[in-house]
């Protein structure tokens, strides 16, 4: 039971990639359905609705980012894993990953709903593309804030003597 630290740390990395990824998959899927509907009416709008469809996809990438930083911090990437990591430190990594995991999941889905509305807006008024993007991007702010806290925590934990 001494070496549970690295298990928790890896669980954190996996959670970040998992939950943010699930959120983005749901979100991009939802937006994709709406986008396909618009394209059946007017194939020329493909480029515009594709951009809107991609917007909820960033959370998955942020999740990947957190997972990757964690993996390289604990040495699983790079081949010298810190197997003697204390349980407390492992739990710290797990906690550090949680903001990205949870906020990523929820914000991607909520952002997708804004993106779906934006796609409907663009289908009626293609000139309002910029504004419809901003509505969806507003939601992403919170994913970015979560990403920030996760990054700062993970890089900070590395230098703690535990």
């Amino acid at each position: 039971m001494e070496n549970l630290g690295i298990v928790f740390a890896l669980a954190g990395a996996a959670l970040a990639a998992l939950m943010a990824g699930i959120g983005s998959a749901i979100g991009v899927g939802m937006a994709g359905e709406a986008a396909a509907g618009v394209v059946t009416e007017d194939p020329n709008k493909f480029g515009k609705v594709l951009i809107l469809q991609l917007l909820p996809g960033t959370q998955g990438i942020y999740g990947l980012l957190i997972a990757f930083i964690t993996l390289s911090q604990i040495g699983i990437l790079g081949g010298n894993a810190d197997t003697a990591m204390s349980t407390a430190k492992g739990l710290l990594y797990l906690a550090a990953c949680l903001p990205m995991a949870f906020v990523g999941l929820w914000s991607a889905i909520r952002q997708a709903r804004a993106a779906v509305s934006g796609i409907q807006l663009v289908s009626k008024r293609p000139d309002q593309m910029g504004k419809s993007m901003i509505f969806a991007a507003m939601v992403e702010t919170y994913a970015i804030l979560a990403l920030l806290i996760s990054i700062l925590s993970i890089t900070g934990i590395g230098s703690l003597a535990m």
């Binding site: 960033t58 980012l65 930083i69 993007m133 992403e140």
Partner: protein, 678 residues
């Protein structure tokens, strides 16, 4: 950074020159007509809706023909040709083509007719084919399918819903007859022929005596017997032959029609021209319909940018004997807005347009915005490799396709400048396709070549990057406030400028300096310096003055002192929005890291295959696909979030917009553009 000054213009012309003047105005494309009702002065307007509708119908017909041609003989287009823009036509070419255009509508009608005919023939072929399929199981029948029988006999031709043999059918009839005691009556003799028997159906032909046919048919019906759906007056084989011949004829006709359509592709350019021609006429007639006219002359009101006024006046008076009056727009008028900026800032105009054009009394913030736009975009993408690709790609396209549509050209130019900024930030932060240089040199050449950051690597020192991002944010926000100050002073509201801008500078600026003198904040941010306590005290006093000023003066529109202070307190609460605005710039760090780290992931994945030729091939594959993906996603991210920082944080401080974009009376064409000749 400027809005072009607008003049209000009145053009008086003789009715005999009406067409020429309108066409000239349309080619110039510098006048936005103003709708005026002068009926009280004895002017009237012509109803042109009917003619416009006729043109719309013609345009639709020809457009349909162009689509048909595209379907039958697609135009060969080289890659990227959609960037090529519209073909240029001079005025003399224009008039030549218009003179030869009489046949265009006939050609278009013929093409549409042929295409419609082909659709009908194809529908007929489908019908015949399904008939042949349904006749196939009857191929054993050598009498017509609607054969009723002879003088004494009757033929019952039909289908059972399951597999039956001759014996099954005879047994069935016999059992039914036996129930009525007629089993061995020779009057009920039948001749059963099974033509085709399969698991799901049996086609049969049953003969019986004419007077007993009713009873026999009832027996058969009880076994599920039904008449076939498709009945012909010929034996099935003969009918099938006939249908096959019809299909062949249809095919030949389709072939002939298609050939004919293909020979008509030589008129494609003419047809495209005519689509443009009719669309231009529709617009012209709409303007004409709104023109005030009297018996001998007409008058057009419109806005014209000042710099085009002289040339327009000269041209119209010299060539068409028109009189042109140029005046200032009135106080209540809302002239449309046309922006004009230096080549560096111009591309960002389209971003501003996405938000809103500057209002009547607002300045055009494009120049200042463009500086921050390129700066922030580069910081978010921050990879020298990606920046280089953007520079080379955009420069190539802009130089290669000179007739590109103006909107596309602007966008490419914007990404060119963004690319330069991205390249510079990439060098500063040490990113070239992520960490491609160290990884490649380590994997394939055995010794690592570093690509050191000129400044620092954000991933190694995120706190420093975060503080820098906040600093950029504060500068951005304060610049926005500065523009508000300039705007208010320019409008003569100096006091308001002090109350609404200077007090905020004092409060927010003082607050920030005070933080820098606190040990706790300095430790948290990892700063290498700390301001002396005296500076902190001075800053606190400044912030206090600012806060007091806001409380006292922000609610100055209310007379009631209590209400005024209450309003001021509410405004002071707005300081929280500054906090969230500044924090919002943390996305500069997050997005910058996202690009770099994901690029590193792909490089690492690529290098997992080791050195050697196979490793190199795998590495190149992973590298190209991975970086293309990463670049696309992060370009989108940088674009969206730079826009957001401009629209929400920056514009929130000073910009309202609400102006109307200048939309002149011009030729909104699809395929050609027309050049004025001198």
């Amino acid at each position: 950074m400027a809005k072009l000054p607008m003049k209000q213009v009145r053009i008086y012309g003789l009715k005999s020159h009406r067409k020429a003047i309108l066409e000239a105005l349309q080619r110039f494309g510098v006048l936005e007509p103003i709708s005026k009702d002068l009926s009280e002065l004895g002017f009237s307007k012509t109803d042109t809706a009917k003619s416009a509708a006729t043109f719309a119908k013609a345009a639709e017909t020809i457009n349909g023909a162009v689509d048909v041609l595209e379907r039958y003989a697609p135009e060969k287009k080289p890659l990227l040709s959609m960037l090529g823009g519209k073909k240029m036509l001079s005025v003399s070419q224009y008039y030549n083509t218009v003179d030869n255009a009489g046949r265009a509508l006939d050609i278009a009608r013929e093409i549409n007719e042929l295409s419609k005919n082909n659709y009908e023939l194809e529908a007929d072929i489908a019908k015949c084919e399904s008939a042949i399929t349904s006749l196939e199981p009857w191929s054993g029948l050598d009498i017509p399918m609607d054969f009723k029988g002879t003088k004494k006999t009757r033929a019952l031709i039909g289908t059972f819903p399951e597999e039956k043999t001759v014996a099954d059918i005879l047994n069935g009839i016999n059992e039914a007859l036996a129930g009525e005691g007629k089993a061995d009556d020779p009057l009920y003799a039948v001749d059963v022929n099974v033509l085709r028997a399969e698991t799901s159906f049996t086609n049969a032909c049953v003969f019986c005596r004419r007077e007993k046919s009713g009873e026999i048919e009832t027996c058969l019906r009880n076994m599920g017997f039904a008449r076939p759906a498709y009945v012909t007056g010929r034996p099935p084989l003969e009918e099938a032959e006939k249908l096959k011949k019809q299909i062949k004829d249809d095919r030949a006709l389709i072939e002939k029609n298609s050939k004919r359509i293909e020979t008509q592709t030589k008129h494609r350019d003419l047809l495209k021209f005519m689509v443009d021609y009719y669309n231009m006429r529709i617009e012209k007639y709409e303007t004409l319909g709104d023109t005030n006219q009297r018996e001998k002359f007409f008058v057009i009101y419109g806005y014209v940018p000042e710099k085009y006024c002289a040339r327009l006046e000269d041209e119209l008076t010299r060539k068409y004997d028109a009189a042109v009056e140029i005046g200032e727009p009135g106080k209540e008028d809302e002239p449309p807005v046309l922006l004009h900026n230096n080549p560096f800032s111009e591309p960002v105009e389209s971003v501003l347009e996405t938000y809103s054009m500057p209002g009547k009394f607002e300045i055009d913030p494009t120049f200042i915005m463009s500086l921050f736009y390129y700066f922030l975009f580069g910081m978010m993408l921050s990879d020298a490799g990606y920046g280089l690709l953007m520079i080379v790609g955009c420069a190539f396209l802009v130089l290669r396709f000179r007739d590109m549509a103006p909107g596309t050209r602007k966008a490419l130019k914007m990404f060119f400048w963004c690319g330069i900024s991205t390249f510079i930030w990439g060098i500063l932060f040490g990113g070239f396709f992520g960490d491609a240089i160290p990884v490649i040199s380590r994997t394939f050449f055995g010794h690592e070549v570093a690509f050191p950051a000129l400044w620092f690597e954000p991933i190694k020192d995120p706190m420093r990057m975060l503080i820098f991002a906040f600093l950029v944010g504060i500068i951005h926000l304060f610049t926005g406030l500065g523009i508000k100050f300039y705007q208010m002073v320019k409008d003569g509201d100096v006091k308001g400028a002090i109350y609404d801008v200077i007090f905020w500078y004092l409060l927010v600026g003082g607050g920030i300096v005070y933080l820098l003198s606190m040990q706790m904040f300095v430790d948290m941010a990892g700063l290498s310096f700390k301001l002396p306590p005296a500076a902190g005290t001075a800053a606190a006093i400044c912030a206090g003055i600012g806060a007091l000023g806001i409380i006292l003066f922000a609610g100055r529109s209310s007379r009631n002192p209590a209400k005024r202070v209450a309003k001021g307190l509410y405004e002071l609460y707005g300081v929280t929005s500054y906090l969230s605005d500044i924090l919002s710039y943390s996305r500069l760090l997050a997005l910058g890291l996202a690009t770099g780290v994901i690029a590193q992931v792909f490089n690492q994945m690529g290098s997992m295959f080791g050195g050697g030729p196979i490793g190199a091939i795998c590495f190149i594959l992973v590298f190209v696909i991975g970086h293309a993906l990463n670049m696309a996603i992060n370009l989108l991210g940088a674009y969206v979030h730079t826009n957001r920082l401009q629209f929400v944080e920056f514009f929130g401080k000073f910009y309202e917009g609400g102006g109307r974009k200048f939309s002149p009376f011009t030729a909104n064409t699809k395929y050609y553009k027309f050049k004025e000749e001198n």
